[in-house]
Subunit: 283 residues, 2 copies
C-alpha cells in the first residue's frame, strides 16, 4: 500500500501517517482536510507529502477516514463512491454502529473496515500527531466478515506495523461498552472541571492547591468539543445509561456521608480498590 | 535539626525521611509506627535508621506526624506532651481545621506547625516512599502565626530543602477549597471505577477497551480507604457541598443529552476547555 490518503489530518490521522511513513519508505501520504491551515501545518511537519482532494481517491491503496463521527457518516459513502476496487478504507471513530449502518448497503462495503484504535491524547490537530502513538494499544475491529479477505489481510498487516493488538467485536457491543470505559470518563472529567471552575472562578490562586491527582481526573476536560459532541450524540442512549448509573453511585455515596456511615464508605472504596489489578497493563 | 522522628512511615513520612537523609548527612531518622512490618520495611529500605517510641520524643529536633487524619487529632496532643521545648512538630494531613482545633489550647502549641504538602501518589506504605516527591510542589501552611518564630524558620528551611513552595492559608479556607481540588476528585474517581466494575464484572475482557483516558480518571480509585475515609469524615460538610454541585452538573449534562441539546453540550465542554490554561504548571 503505497498511496495513502488521510482524510482529517489531526491527532489520529496524522499519527497514523507518521508511522506509515517511517515504516514504508515507498509510501506517499496525501492529506485531505476542510481545514486548510491544518493541511499547511501537516505539510510543514512532514505529516503528509501532498494535499489532495476526493477526485484523487481513485489512486488510493489506503484511505484513513479520521474526522469527527458526525462527519464520518456523511463522508464515508462519498469516499466509497470515489475509490477503486483495490482500495482499503478504514475509519477510526469512537462510535461504530452508526458508521457501519451508514454504508451497510453501499456497493463498495467490502472495501471498508470499521476500526477504533484505543489511543490518543487530550490534544488535537496535526501538531498533536506523534510517532508510536499506537504501540501496544488495542484496535477494535467491527464486522470484519463484511470486508474482502485480501483487504482484511492488508489492514491487519498495517495494524501490526503500527504495533497494535486486535480485538473483534460487533458494533452494538462496542458502543455499549465504550460508553463505560471511555465516554463516561470524558463527561466525568468535564463536569469535574466545570464544578471546580464555577466555584473558584474568583479565586484563581486556589489552583495552586491542585495536585497531580486533580490534574489526572480533569485531564480529559481538555478534549475537543468538536470531536466529542458528535460522539455523545451518536452514542446517546448508552451514554445516558452510564450517566444514570454514575449519578446514582455518587448520590448513594453522598447519602452515606450524610448519614455518617463511614464504615460503609470505607467498604465502598475498598471494594473498588481492585481496579488496580484490573488496570494492570494499561499504559 | 539532626534527630528526626517520623510517626507513620508511609508514602509521605517516608519520602520526607529519604530527602532529609540525602540533604543532611548528620541527620538520624527514627521511625514510630503501629504497623511493625512497615517499620521493618522502612529499616530495610533505609527510609529510617532506627525504630523508636514516644518515650524517645524528648530527644527530637523534628517530629513529622504523617498518619491518617483521624489518628492525627488523637496523637498530636500526646506528641506535644512528649517533646522538649526545642522540637518542631509538623503534621501533613489533608484536613487542617480539626488538627488545629485539637491542640489550640495545648501548652506546647507554639512548637507545632500545621502543613499540607500537595504531593503524593496513589500508592501507600514505606515501599511507596520516593526521593524528590516534593520537588516544585506546594506546601500549604496554616496558622503560621501560632508557631514560635525560630521554629517557623527551621520549618521553612526544611521545606525549601525539599524543593517546595509555600502558600499560607487559614484552616477553614484550606478545608473548603481542598474539598474541590482534591477530595472531590477522589470520590469522582472511586465512583467511576465502581460504576464500570459493577457493569462489566462478568466481562473482564472489556477492560482491554480501556485506554489511557480511563486510566487517568480512575487512577485515584487505587488510593487507600484507611487514609481517605477519615479525610471525608473530617471534611464532611465541605465534601457534601462539592458532591452536590458535581451531581447537579452531571444531572444537567444528562438533561441536555435527553433533550438532544447538543449545541449546549458543545458550549459546556468548550467553556471548560480553558482548564488547560488553569492547570498550566501543574506536574
Amino acid at each position: 500500500m503505497n498511496k495513502i490518503y488521510i482524510i482529517g489530518v489531526g491527532l489520529i490521522g496524522g499519527s497514523i501517517a507518521l508511522d506509515i511513513k517511517s515504516n514504508n519508505k515507498h509510501a506517499k501520504v496525501f492529506g485531505i482536510d476542510t481545514n486548510d491551515s491544518h493541511l499547511d501545518d501537516a505539510l510543514k511537519l512532514n505529516v503528509i507529502d501532498e494535499k489532495a482532494s476526493y477526485g484523487d481517491l481513485k489512486e488510493a491503496d489506503l484511505v484513513v477516514l479520521s474526522i469527527p463521527v458526525d462527519k464520518a457518516v456523511l463522508e464515508l459513502p462519498k469516499v466509497l463512491d470515489a475509490i477503486s476496487d483495490r482500495a482499503l478504507v478504514i475509519d477510526v471513530g469512537s462510535t461504530k454502529d452508526p458508521v457501519c449502518k451508514a454504508i451497510e448497503n453501499h456497493k463498495m462495503r467490502r472495501n471498508f473496515l470499521a476500526t477504533h484504535p484505543i489511543a490518543g491524547t487530550e490534544f488535537s490537530g496535526p501538531k498533536a500527531a506523534i510517532h508510536g502513538l499506537f504501540q501496544k494499544k488495542t484496535n477494535i475491529i467491527c464486522e470484519v466478515e463484511k470486508t474482502t479477505f485480501k483487504l482484511q489481510e492488508k489492514a491487519l498487516q498495517l495494524f501490526s506495523d503500527l504495533g497494535m493488538r486486535i480485538r473483534y467485536m460487533n458494533p452494538e457491543a462496542h458502543d455499549k461498552h465504550i460508553a463505560y470505559v471511555s465516554h463516561l470518563s470524558h463527561i466525568s472529567s468535564f463536569m469535574l472541571g466545570k464544578t471546580v471552575i464555577e466555584k473558584e472562578k474568583n479565586e484563581r490562586d486556589i489552583f495552586d492547591m491542585a495536585g497531580s491527582g486533580f490534574e489526572s481526573t480533569v485531564r480529559l476536560a481538555k478534549s475537543s468539543p468538536a470531536m466529542w459532541t458528535p460522539i455523545f450524540k451518536q452514542n446517546r442512549e448508552n451514554v445516558i445509561e452510564t450517566l444514570d448509573e454514575y449519578i446514582n453511585n455518587l448520590k448513594q455515596f453522598k447519602a452515606l456521608m450524610e448519614s455518617n456511615d463511614f464504615d460503609e464508605i470505607y467498604k465502598e472504596m475498598q471494594s473498588t480498590n481492585h481496579i488496580k489489578d484490573i488496570l494492570n497493563g494499561i499504559a
